[in-house]
């Protein structure tokens, strides 16, 4: 009896032990010192239908040791490889690394302009979507020139370029588009999409790599996954407002020549109301914005109730101008719909939409768009009068 119990105890002990072997998951262990962590990727067009993948790999601090001054810059290393697609280029790149390339922390993907304009960007994005390591919330960008040039920059505040761009997007400088957002736009009814456009700004014509920073200068406009044009900062502002996204919070109105008045926006909301009357399609864009005056560079006494209305009108005008510029450029010029009009029509008029959905690009320029902006000044800021 006792012997039986001892045997049982030993057996169960080994059974528990055998479970420990499974717990290690030793086929899939990934130690930090076996990984080369990618923190930014740029994809460019190459000859013969190939692409060039440039990655920034994070260098652990202990490696860059030595007696030199604590260089906070040299934390990333940039390498590139050519391949027929992203996965192929990545596997070619792997030949240059002793550690396995790891995509899980890459949250910035920059596409070169020539690649975007060639179309079929979706074929490259598929890798980011399908491979288990890249993240859905990574942000996509289009560079004005070669994408790999952007990665070469060494920004002053952040450790690497990817961080700069991501933080700018989160702060709503330019469009803030994640992989999921882009896919949603590309597969949406109208098929119009947008991505923030990155430019390089040289300070004081200085050609050194230091202090050269990437800026988000405008927006790249896509029809499905093909880039067909770009718009500048003012037009992007209008475009993003229509899409109910924020841009930078300050707006400036111009009461008279040389006079300015600026508002810091606290809240902004957009409603697209589509309407079909007697076969005529129209959209009314209702935009309401609330904010605080942060600079009064005009002769208007903003403390009076009557003048507040005037101030609001000046700023409303500025907002409408941005939006109209965007509409003119994108809707009438490029004949695409990144504004979301198609989706709005589809949601409200599913039957009518069914008839036009195959020739939306023909219908789009004829749609009458009315912009109704309502700006509401909440506070005058901390002073009541101006120095004048």
């Amino acid at each position: 009896m006792i012997l039986c119990r001892i045997i049982k105890a030993i057996l169960s002990f080994f059974l528990v032990l055998s479970q420990c072997v499974l717990l290690t998951g030793c086929w899939d262990n990934k130690e930090l010192n076996q990984l080369a962590i990618i923190v930014g990727a740029a994809i460019d067009k190459e000859k013969n239908n190939k692409i060039k993948l440039t990655v920034q790999v994070f260098l652990p601090q202990s490696q860059s040791g030595g007696q030199q001054s604590s260089s906070s810059k040299a934390q990333v290393e940039i390498k590139s490889a050519v391949g027929t697609n992203l996965a192929d280029a990545a596997s070619n790149l792997q030949r240059e690394y002793s550690r396995r390339l790891f995509w899980g922390h890459c949250k910035t993907y920059i596409f070169g302009r020539s690649l975007s304009e060639k179309g079929n960007l979706g074929r490259q994005i598929d890798f980011i979507d399908r491979h288990p390591e890249p993240r859905e919330e990574s942000r996509l960008y289009v560079s004005d020139g070669k994408a790999s040039d952007i990665l070469q920059l060494s920004p002053s505040l952040e450790k690497y370029v990817g961080d700069v761009l991501r933080k700018m997007s989160e702060m709503h400088v330019g469009a803030n588009i994640t992989l999921k957002d882009f896919e949603l736009m590309v597969t949406s009814e109208g098929g119009g999409a947008l991505l923030p456009l990155i430019k390089i700004k040289h300070q004081n014509n200085d050609d050194r790599k230091m202090n050269v920073s990437p800026i988000i200068g405008g927006t790249a406009i896509f029809m499905r996954d093909k880039m067909i044009g770009r718009i500048n900062e003012v037009e992007s502002k209008g475009l993003l407002w229509v899409r109910n996204q924020n841009e930078l919070p300050e707006i400036t109105g111009y009461p008279k020549k040389g006079q300015t008045i600026s508002l810091y926006l606290k809240r902004t909301k957009t409603n697209l109301i589509p309407k079909i009357e007697k076969g005529k399609w129209s959209v009314t864009i209702y935009i309401s914005k609330e904010g605080m005056i942060v600079q009064n560079g005009s002769k208007i006494n903003i403390m009076s109730k009557k003048n507040t209305k005037r101030v609001e009108n000046y700023i409303e005008k500025d907002v409408s101008i941005s939006i109209e510029k965007a509409l003119k450029q994108v809707k009438d010029g490029m004949k695409v719909d990144p504004f979301g009009f198609a989706t709005a029509f589809h949601r409200k008029y599913p039957k009518e939409w069914e008839k036009v959905k195959d020739h939306w690009e023909v219908v789009l320029p004829d749609i009458y768009v009315e912009t109704k902006v309502k700006v509401h000044v909440l506070e005058p800021g901390l002073s009541t009068t101006t120095l004048e």
């Binding site: 479970q19 086929w27 949406s188 949601r347």
Partner: protein, 372 residues
Amino acid sequence: MHDKGRITAYQMALMIYPTIYATAVLMVPAITGQYVGRDSWAAPILGSLNGFFTAYVLYKLHKMYPNESLIQYSKHIIGHFLSKILGLFYLFFFLYMCGFILKEYYFFVGISLLPKTPMIAIIGSTVIMASLAITGGVEVLGRASQLFIPIFILPIPIFTIMLLKDLDPKNVLPILEHGLLPLLQGSAAPQAWFSEVFLISMFLPFLKDPEKGLKWSFISVFAVMLSLVSLNLLTTFLFGEMTASYTFPVFKAVRFISLSDFFEHLEAGIITIWILGAYIKITVFYYALVLGTAQWLNLSDFKPIVLPFGILISLFAIWEFANLQEQFEFSKSIFPFYVPFMLTVLPTILLIIAKIRTRNTIKKKPPRISNY
């Protein structure tokens, strides 16, 4: 009785919930999405009707033969010979389902967490754990689900809250754009999953409070319906029409969570939690298989056949589908007919025959109830 254990109706409900839900949450959103797109939230509501119906049929059968499972009481209804053949069908079905569930979970874990781990390690470890629980009997299963299922349910509200800032409720509009037909097609897969509530048949004889059996089965089906509806709404709010283009939409949604730079990469957590649910699901089917076999063969004890069947279901899991696409295709086209036929249609036929027979013999004598 093969199992001396007793469970409460509440514990049974906790076992049935993951039995339907644990794998429904993986594949069904994508399958329904392919038919109904942004109306996928409505499909589980239609599908759950089958769940309620199946639960009702099996409860009625249980009322007529309170101490037996379907494998046993079918002989009072259709005779000894036919009931053995029917029992064999069911046992093979359970065997097949065990393999199906194990393979589905292997594919899920293989894509998301352990790409290089061999199949036999993932499947084998689950089967070993499940067989340990089954050797303990039905009471252990009840307690295990009481322990695990709250942890399993909790993530749904938590992750919904974490995703709130990314949700756009307008994505569900326009509702039912293409009429009801796509919705009916889309609810084919959920209703197949809901018919798995059939497994209450194996557990009803063990209830301490059998009068609550139907109530708790209904609550369980309702809870699954609610969970599936809310998750389908969540993925639609987040991904819109893109939902159908992902293999595991709910998993994609969890990966999307990113709160202030440090609350991210939460998917490892949710995989661990989902494995708890899948574990209960496998255990329930495995238990039904083992207990059913013991009842079918009139064995005095089911424990000796637990491990041999463990090896058999591992083999079935390895054999069944060569790849996930194949399983996907199967779940879309054959599963919605095969499973409800076994789990809803056959019991309904049994119930009808039983009703007719008892009406004819009501004057003679009540059916003899044998106690194994």
